[in-house]
Amino acid sequence: MAEGAADHPPTSTGVDNWKLGFWTFIGSECLFFGTLISAYMVYRGTAVVGPFPEDIWNIPLTTLSTSTLLFSSLAMVLALDGVQRGAKKFALSWLAVVIAMGGTFLAIEAYEYSHFISEGLTLTSSTFGSSYYVLTGTHKVHVFVGMIWMAALWWMIYRDKIPPKGALKVEIAGIYWHFVDIIWIVIFSLVYLIS
């Protein structure tokens, strides 16, 4: 990956190719999640056997997990700011918070899954179960991949492999993490809050 926008070779567009490529990937991810959300919306209310959404939702718990993901986004930009300023400890601390918040989110969601399964909602129990688990499961995989990426960045910063002029590495990872956050904003509203 390029060390930073100032170091990459000149491009005909005048923008960094890595960043342009990654934003294109994010644009395609919008469509990917769009199909999964569409499938959930189409099947919404079509399940003929329970449990039904209103029977099993635990809004306070999901609000807590949403809060952790939202806070991790703030921690991510603070970590990026630290890398750009060359404040290594600051960046490492906030990147560790991002990883911890991502882990907390996944732990809460795992608890939620286990509760739903114990209530009888499985991947094959109903159209609601199928579309819900595929949508939210895909999102959780994205969170997990993001956590691995953040851990790798943490190690690289710790080993002084990412100087301030190489902050683009962290910025691109941040774009991914924030995208995962905004997808959850949509899921939290459309799936959980709009009944």
């Binding site: 926008a5 000149p10 005048g14 769009g34 919306m41 919404r44 703030l74 924030h178 905004i182 939290f188």
Partner: protein
């Protein structure tokens, strides 16, 4: 220098001046924290709306509007599109708009039109 080479040189100069944010401009730390507070407040409002039965009829449009505001804040400030090159905004906006259209159109076809026996 050929015009192509000159354009490339201009591009390099432009990037060097703009740093990691492409079009220049660095979002200050205080703004990040302020946006974080606004996002937390908006989430609190969304959850509160869920628990107010009187708002049942208007819950959906309000929640969609609040979510749109939240997404816009994250994309503009945390993902830096406010200060970044406009091409990134277009690349993202096209994907997001198509996805929103798909979700909206299918929701209307399957859940709204049947109410009117269309």
């Amino acid at each position: 220098m050929s015009s192509n080479a000159a354009a490339q040189e201009e591009g390099r100069g432009s990037d060097a001046e703009h740093g990691a944010h492409g079009e220049g401009g660095h979002i200050p730390l205080r703004t990040y924290v302020l946006i974080g507070v606004v996002l937390a407040v908006l989430m609190g409002i969304k959850v509160a709306i869920y628990y107010i039965p009187a708002l049942d009829d208007v819950r959906t449009p309000i929640l969609i509007a609040l979510s749109t505001v939240k997404i816009a804040l994250v994309v503009l400030f945390y993902m830096h599109l406010k200060v970044d090159h406009i091409v990134f905004t277009w690349v993202f906006a096209i994907g997001a708009a198509l996805a929103a259209f798909m979700v909206g159109a299918l929701s209307v076809i399957y859940h709204v039109l049947p109410r009117f026996h269309v």
